[in-house]
């Protein structure tokens, strides 16, 4: 059985779904018996949601958007702007 500090260390990897099966099962077994760590896991979930909501996309300036539109319009007329590489025939 892992202890609370180890459970806390694994929480973000758990939320990333990056834990292998054994460490994940150990953490889940710990969470079954530890309300404090359940609270911290939930807090970390909210913390991540807050960061994701506040650090998302940046508005593209109008002049940059115009340059990109020009670049992509030119690309659409070029050889790779369409479907790109054709896959090798089966």
């Amino acid at each position: 059985m892992i202890d609370c500090p180890e459970a806390v260390r694994r929480m973000w990897s758990y939320l990333e779904r990056a834990l292998e099966s054994t460490p994940r099962e150990e953490l889940e077994a710990h969470l079954d018996t530890c309300t404090r760590c359940c609270g911290e896991l939930e807090f970390n979930r909210h913390l991540r949601e807050m960061v994701a909501a506040r650090e998302g996309t940046a508005a593209i300036p109008a002049d940059l958007q115009a340059r990109i539109d020009g670049l992509l319009s030119g690309a659409a007329e070029g050889p790779t702007g369409g479907s790109g590489e054709t896959e090798a025939p089966a």
């Binding site: 500090p5 806390v8 260390r9 973000w12 990897s13 990333e16 779904r17 990056a18 609270g39 911290e40 807090f43 970390n44 909210h46 913390l47 991540r48 807050m50 960061v51 994701a52 506040r54 650090e55 998302g56 996309t57 940046a58 593209i60 300036p61 940059l64 340059r67 990109i68 670049l71 992509l72 319009s73 690309a75 659409a76 070029g78 790779t80 702007g81 369409g82 479907s83 790109g84 590489e85 054709t86 896959e87 089966a90």
Partner: protein, 214 residues
């Protein structure tokens, strides 16, 4: 660290590609991911002027390399990886060192810091039923951006990729061209800097009162 050159590397495969699906046009892919790509370029470059150049350079490289992309459905990670390479190349051209993470281990004090526990102990909102959530509600967009900006970029970028842009750790490792174990370690260190940064920011700006303060 030597990084891959060019932009032809392919993201980690999800499985066999469905050859029945027609290959989308590059312009459609670029437009689909443009907002997120630009946001990532702002994070990479740190200011809007450099980000403007970087996103255009990224699109030009991606356009040239698009025929090499085997799985267009994984284009987002591929575009982000090209942006990362383009940014590293820009830094080299300017003679600036590519910032890498210190290999120093986390200090015990840093590793032990828990924002959740600190909030519980300091109890900045004695009458709150949602103590921890109330703490997070203190932070406006500019506050989060200020704290995030204070995190070492080597640790911040993995957080940005996974938390903000929804990449898996494996995909983030591909984008930054580092091993998976390195990403996991950097996410942990970035998380610890974020937790400590949020608390110190709140204390310094008087958003919370510590238990030992009047």
């Amino acid at each position: 660290m030597e990084t891959r050159r060019g932009a032809a590397a392919n993201p980690p495969a999800a499985g066999p590609a469905d050859r029945a699906v027609p290959r989308p046009a590059f312009t459609d892919i670029a437009r689909e991911h443009l907002d997120r790509l630009y946001g990532f370029c702002v994070h990479l470059a740190g200011d809007r002027a450099d980000a403007d150049d970087l996103v255009q350079e990224t699109l030009l490289r991606a356009l040239r390399a698009y025929p090499e992309l085997r799985e267009p459905e994984r284009a987002k990670g591929w575009l982000f990886a090209i942006a990362t390479n383009a940014w590293r190349d820009q830094l080299r051209r300017r003679g600036r060192r590519v910032q890498t993470a210190s290999l120093d281990a986390l200090t015990e004090e840093d590793d032990a810091f828990s924002l959740f526990q600190t909030i519980a102990i300091e109890d900045p909102f004695p009458y709150s039923d949602e103590l921890h959530l109330d703490f997070l509600r203190l932070f406006q967009d500019e506050d989060v951006q200020a704290v995030f900006g204070s995190i070492n970029p080597a640790f911040r970028l993995p957080l940005i990729l996974t938390v903000v842009h929804g990449f898996s750790c494996k995909e983030a490792a591909f984008v930054l061209d580092v091993p998976l174990g390195t990403i996991l370690s950097r996410i942990h260190r970035g998380r610890k800097q974020l937790e400590r940064g949020l608390w110190e920011y709140a204390v310094e700006r008087g958003l919370v009162t510590k238990a030992d303060e009047p």
